[in-house]
C-alpha cells in the first residue's frame, strides 16, 4: 500500500499470497473467539456466555419460525423505510437543490430537523399514528431521510456549472438532464447520505420495536433480557450485528457499482 517496506518486490508464489491474505482476514477473529472460549469456561459472570452456548442459542432461537415471525417483518420494515427515505430524500433534494430560493428558505429548518435525535420522534409518531407498522416505518423514514436529503441538496447544488451549460447548449432534455447529469453528478454525495441513513435506520428499527411492539427483533431482544435468557439475548445481538454487516456489505457492492466512475476518476487524479 505504501512506498515504504516494498523490499520484497519480486513476484511471489500466488498460493503463498492467498494464504497470507486469508490468514490476515481471519487471524484476529479466530484468536478472539478462541480466547473468548477459554475465558468463558472460567468466568463466573452470569451475564456473559461462551461462544458454544451462544451458537447453540442462536440456532435454537432464530432458525425456525422465529425467523419468519420476528426477523423478516423487522427487516421488511427496515427496507421499506430505507427505500422510502431514499426515494423521498433524493426527489425532494433534487427539487430543493435546483431551486435556490426554496433552498434558502428551508435550510435552517432542515438543519434543525436533522439535528433532532431521531429516536425522540418515536413517542411523537406513536401519538400521531398509533402503534402500528406504519408508525414504525414512518419513524425509520423520519430519521433516515435527513442525511439523504441534505446530502442530495448539497450534491445537486454543487453540480458543475460547465456541465450544466453543456447540457443547455446541446438542448439536452429535462429528463436526460435529471438522469444523466444531475443525479449522477450528485451520486457520490447521495451515497454518503445513504450510508449514514443505513445506520440510523437500523437503530430506529430496533428502538421502535423496543418501545411499541409485540414482535420483531428489537422486541425479542428486550424480551430475552427481561426474562434473563442471557444466551438468547446475546444471540439476538449477534443477529442484529449480522444484519448490520450484511447491509454494509450490500451497500458496499452497490456503491462500488454506482460510483465506479467516481472511484476510478479519483484514482487517476491521485496518481
Amino acid at each position: 500500500m505504501t512506498a515504504v517496506g516494498t523490499g520484497r518486490a519480486r513476484p511471489r508464489d500466488l498460493g503463498v499470497q492467498v494464504a497470507e491474505n486469508v490468514l490476515f482476514a481471519v487471524g484476529l477473529p479466530v484468536l478472539a473467539v478462541g480466547l473468548w472460549a477459554v475465558w468463558s469456561t472460567r468466568s463466573t459472570n452470569r451475564f456473559l456466555v461462551g461462544p458454544r452456548t451462544l451458537l447453540d442459542a442462536f440456532r435454537q432461537t432464530w432458525i425456525g419460525p422465529a425467523f419468519a415471525d420476528d426477523v423478516l417483518p423487522s427487516v421488511y420494515r427496515l427496507l421499506i423505510g430505507l427505500f422510502t427515505s431514499i426515494l423521498l430524500g433524493v426527489a425532494a433534494g433534487v427539487v430543493i437543490g435546483r431551486f435556490r430560493p426554496l433552498r434558502e428558505i428551508l435550510e435552517p429548518l432542515l438543519e434543525f430537523f436533522r439535528a433532532i435525535p431521531p429516536p425522540v420522534l418515536i413517542p411523537v409518531a406513536m401519538l400521531l399514528l398509533g402503534i402500528t407498522d406504519t408508525m414504525k416505518v414512518v419513524v425509520i423514514v423520519s430519521g433516515a431521510i435527513w442525511p439523504i436529503l441534505l446530502n442530495t441538496i448539497e450534491g445537486v447544488r454543487a453540480t458543475d456549472s460547465v456541465m450544466l451549460e453543456t447540457a443547455y447548449s446541446f438542448r439536452i432534455s429535462r429528463w436526460d438532464r435529471l438522469w444523466r447529469l444531475i443525479l449522477p453528478a450528485a451520486s457520490p454525495r447521495i451515497m454518503t447520505g445513504v450510508r449514514q441513513a443505513l445506520s440510523v435506520a437500523l437503530i430506529l428499527m430496533v428502538i421502535s420495536e423496543m418501545f411499541a411492539s409485540s414482535a420483531g427483533l428489537g422486541y425479542r431482544i428486550a424480551y430475552f433480557q427481561r426474562n434473563y435468557l442471557i444466551a438468547e439475548m446475546w444471540s439476538g445481538i449477534l443477529l442484529l450485528g449480522l444484519i448490520g454487516v450484511v447491509l454494509a456489505v450490500v451497500f458496499g457492492v452497490v456503491e462500488r457499482r454506482v460510483l465506479r466512475w467516481y472511484h476510478g476518476m479519483k484514482e487517476v487524479t491521485r496518481a
Binding site: M1, T2, A3, V4, G5, F24, A25, V26, G27, L28, P29, A32, F47, P101, E104, I105, L106, E107, P108, L109, E111, F112, F113, R114, A115, I116, P117, P118, P119, V120, L121, I122, P123, V124, M126, L127, L128, S199, L202, I203, V206, I207, M210, F211, G218, I221, A222, F224, Q225, I230, M233, W234, G236, I237, L240, G241, G244, V245, L247, A248
Partner: protein, 256 residues
C-alpha cells in the same frame, strides 16, 4: 442577509403551519398541540432549575462518552494506522464490529450496569468510537509518502514523526470524526435515557409520553433538536478552524 431573512421566513412559515394544523382541526390538538402552547411550556421550563439539571445530566453522559470514545479511538487509531501489519490484521474485525448497531447493546448494558450512567456510556462510547476511529485511520494513512520518506531520511524518531508529521496530517480527519461522533453520541445519550431510564432529557420524554403530556413531549423534542443543532454548529466551527489552520500551515511552509 437575504439568506438570513429567507431562512427566518422559512422557520416562521413552519411555525405558522404547525399552529394552523391543530387550529383548523386537521389533527387533534391532543396529538399535535399548538405551537404556542409548546413554546409557552418551554418558556416555563427554561426557568426551572430541574430542567437545566436534566440537560446537564444528558450532556454530562454525552461529554464523558464522547471523550472516552475519542481518547480510545485516537490511541488505537494512531497505533493501528501507523503499523501496516496491525492495519491488515484488524481489518475484518473492524469491518464486522463497526456496523453492529450500538442500540443492540442496550439490553446487555442494562444487565451489566442496571440504571447507572455507565449503562448509557457503554452505548454512547461504542457508537462514537467507530466514527472517530475510522477517521483517525484515514488520517494517519493519508500522511504524504514523500513527507514520510523525508522524515525517515532525516532520521526522525518514531515519536518525532508522530508529533510533526502524523498528528498534523490526521488532525482535520480527527475533527471530522469528532463532529460525526458528537452527533451520534447525542443521539445515543438521549436514546439510552429513553430506553434504560437513567435520568436526563430522554427519560423526561418517556415520562411525558407515558403521562400523555403531548405539550411537554413536543417541547422536549424541540429542546433535543436545539441541543443537536448546537453540537453540530460548534463542532462544524471547530472542524473548519482546524482545516483552516491546517492549510495555513501548509501555505506557511511553502513560502518559507
Amino acid at each position: 442577509m437575504r439568506k438570513i431573512l429567507l431562512g427566518a421566513a422559512g422557520l416562521l412559515g413552519f411555525l405558522v403551519v404547525w399552529q394552523l394544523i391543530p387550529t383548523l382541526g386537521l389533527v387533534d390538538p391532543h396529538y399535535l398541540p399548538y405551537a404556542t402552547d409548546v413554546f409557552g411550556r418551554l418558556a416555563e421550563e427554561v426557568r426551572d432549575l430541574a430542567f437545566w439539571r436534566r440537560v446537564r445530566l444528558t450532556m454530562t453522559s454525552w461529554a464523558i462518552g464522547l471523550t472516552v470514545a475519542t481518547l480510545a479511538a485516537v490511541a488505537l487509531g494512531t497505533v493501528i494506522g501507523m503499523v501496516p501489519f496491525l492495519r491488515r490484521a484488524t481489518h475484518t474485525t473492524v469491518e464486522f464490529l463497526r456496523p453492529v448497531p450500538s442500540v443492540a447493546l442496550i439490553p446487555l448494558a442494562v444487565l451489566m450496569f442496571g440504571l447507572q450512567m455507565r449503562a448509557a456510556l457503554v452505548i454512547i462510547v461504542y457508537a462514537a468510537f467507530w466514527q472517530v476511529f475510522v477517521q483517525v485511520i484515514y488520517g494517519v494513512a493519508d500522511v504524504d509518502t514523500v513527507a514520510r520518506d523525508t522524515a525517515r531520511s532525516f532520521g526522525l524518531t518514531r515519536a518525532e514523526r508522530l508529533r510533526y508529521l502524523v498528528l498534523p496530517t490526521a488532525l482535520p480527519y480527527l475533527m471530522t470524526g469528532l463532529r460525526l461522533g458528537a452527533a451520534v453520541a447525542l443521539i445515543l445519550a438521549v436514546t439510552a435515557e429513553m430506553v434504560i431510564g437513567n435520568p436526563g432529557l430522554g427519560r423526561m420524554i418517556e415520562l411525558s409520553r407515558s403521562a400523555g403530556d403531548a405539550v411537554g413531549l413536543y417541547g422536549l423534542v424541540v429542546v433535543t433538536g436545539m441541543l443537536g443543532l448546537l453540537v453540530n454548529v460548534v463542532f462544524r466551527f471547530v472542524e473548519r478552524r482546524s482545516l483552516a489552520w491546517h492549510q495555513s500551515v501548509l501555505a506557511d511552509e511553502a513560502t518559507r
